[in-house]
Subunit: 374 residues, 2 copies
DNA sequence: ATGAAAGCGCTAACAA
DNA sequence: TTGTTAGCGCTTTCAT
């Protein structure tokens, strides 16, 4: 094996404990001794054995981030932000890709496999209230991007209902009365799609418009191909929609491609809005109007909640159940709904932040730091 | 803590060793005893403590994949494929994002931080021959996507030079004589960009065309914004290029957006080709002509090489140095170079595989399983 | 086929 | 301030 504390201790002529103290700063060491130890450490190229340390401390310093897949840029970005936030707590993040499969998600909840993580951050696609209640594994868990009522599990998410309400409201404000939906009943949390749909319907009701089930076709996975396929189906209706709100940017980008291929002009013939604010949508032609969740806040809050749980602290608001953080979001109005003139500043390729601020139609809601409620 | 082998042994009325044998199948156990142990295991909900196991075995079962960032869809996809390939070896993959920073990459080579991984898969952006030679850490290492001559480190990559030769050759075959390059001197391995540039130049030479340094502006990071910025610079030339080959799909997609924003028609006024075959390029408008590396082969080969290294096997071809695998690639000809008619089949949104096969101009080279040479 | 005991490298408790 | 010792949970000799 490698160099152990004993080897270093022997070399420096001190005890193992002293070397450990130097390495961890766990107890004061005299300058002279410390220098000796430092030298021995360097000469032998000592590196702590994580397994031994973890075994002793009862903690691995690793947290697992469980998500559908990194192929979705939304989750890739989230993964980066979570990793950064976790690093500030001294944690390493292990990414576990479920592919959106229910059995894999349940496996994770059961704590299947071995015990490598001190805590779990789960972006659920299939599991809901029941599975969470049945959970026996004691590993601290935080839900990311999903809300499960009952206050049993700490969770962080945006206000999906309100966000969808704003997105549909924006499309209605453009004078489009037939607004389709792509992504209903899809993944990204059993509840998220449902809440977005509720927000969409509320917007129609508030505008005094009728609901048309044909405009809300069921959608499977949140991938570009699916968005394209569902849009083509919508275009075959007797009265096709004048606008479509997609519950995910990938769906929207797939739909955009299908619309353009069908010879439609976007937004003139069809306005399109998405969810997620992935970078692709800032460079597509036309650029994509989208709901931009405060991903940094999502990541930070999720890690903070998990930290509280792991450290055994109450976790936020007393002991009245698990805390639920609502991260902020903004509607970024871009070319796919208002055309090129309104969305672009001097530079046609607009950075993410300035786009929403410059656009007259931009609405924002929620706070970027996240509001806590339990 | 949790349930240990001792607890299970006590419950089942057997020794610790016997339980261990049942869990690992490391020695034959009588059917009767096994059943008893099985029951105790289930009743107590035993889960092996990875730290203890690792400490004892001297292996963690974790390999680290070090890459610039998951924000790049190319690396996100590679990460997924590597994770899948590693799972077949019973390994868990830890993803380490360097942000393309040199210090972070060097840190990884030094084995800084603690020793959590049995092996390292590195997609280098900055480190080259020297840093690899100076390396003292004994953790097995495999380079992914980069070639470093000298045969000291096992490596897997595509034939970048040839791929670039084909890409430029394709543009030349369309009658474009002024071909720009975006991505020269950029990251993604100090050598990869250089080799691609060499291939590009070779294609020009073989066509009897002059080199023009102004058509090869220096490029920093491989991001969309950079591609857009560099393309705008190219358009300001007295004689702007009629075609541009980008050494990364993100650069190409940024360039595409900038070209369209500038009022150019693509490919009529400007033909564009990329590298990497990320999904975005299959749904952009126009779809993106690109070099498609056999990513699955890259991932599989890299993991296999690492496995060989970790298991102490020679690693491939005798003991004449470290093996170097060349993964295959194909040039996928799409709308951004040949227009809409030639690239599309009956369905305007073409799946990744059929696109290249259907297109008359598609060329392929290399094998998908990868050729080994040392 | 099963059991007893040693020890992987580290840290926490106690002693000096 | 520094040293000694025990033990985290597991696998692995060596016995039986």
């Amino acid at each position: 094996m490698g160099v152990s504390l004993r080897d270093v201790a022997a070399r420096a002529g001190v005890s193992v404990k002293t070397v450990s103290n130097v390495v961890n700063g766990s107890a004061p060491v005299s300058p002279h001794t410390r220098e000796k130890v430092r030298r021995a450490l360097a000469e032998l190229g000592y590196r702590p054995n994580l397994s031994a340390r973890s075994l002793r401390r009862g903690r691995t310093g690793v947290v697992a981030l469980v998500l559908p897949g990194l192929d979705d840029p939304y989750f890739a970005e989230l993964a980066r932000l979570v990793t950064e936030a976790a690093a500030e707590h001294g944690w390493t993040v292990l990414i576990d890709q479920t592919g959106g499969r229910a059995d894999r998600e349940r496996q994770v909840l059961r704590g299947a496999g071995a015990q490598l993580a001190d805590g779990l951050l789960l972006c659920p696609v299939t599991v809901g209230r029941r599975e969470l209640a049945d959970r026996t594994d004691a590993t601290p868990l935080v839900l990311l991007g999903e809300r499960v009522p009952g206050g049993t599990v700490p969770q962080v998410a945006v206000d999906d209902r309100r966000a969808a309400y704003e997105a549909t409201g924006h499309l209605l404000s453009l004078g489009r009365t037939r607004v389709g939906v792509i992504g209903a009943r899809g993944p990204r949390g059993p509840g998220a799609a449902r809440r977005r749909l509720a927000g969409h319907r509320q917007a129609l009701r508030d505008a005094g418009l009728p609901q048309d089930a044909r405009l809300v076709p069921p959608t499977g996975t949140y991938r570009r191909a699916e968005g394209a396929a569902v849009l083509r189906r919508l275009l075959e209706l007797d009265e096709p929609p004048q606008a479509v709100v997609c519950f995910d940017d990938l769906l929207a980008l797939g739909a955009l491609r299908a619309a353009l291929s069908a010879g439609l002009r976007v937004p003139r013939d069809l306005a399109l809005a998405g969810f997620g604010d992935i970078e692709d949508g800032r460079y597509s032609t036309p650029t994509l109007t989208t709901v931009s969740p405060d991903k940094a806040a999502l990541a930070r809050s999720a890690v903070a909640l998990l930290a509280a749980r792991i450290d055994g602290a109450p976790g936020g608001s007393g002991d009245s159940g698990a805390p639920a953080v609502v991260a902020g979001h903004r509607l970024l109005v871009r070319e796919s709904t208002v055309g090129v003139a309104a969305a672009a500043g001097p530079d046609p390729v607009v950075p993410p932040q300035s786009s929403g601020a410059q656009s007259p139609g931009a609405q924002s809601s929620g706070s970027s730091t996240g509001a806590i409620s339990s």
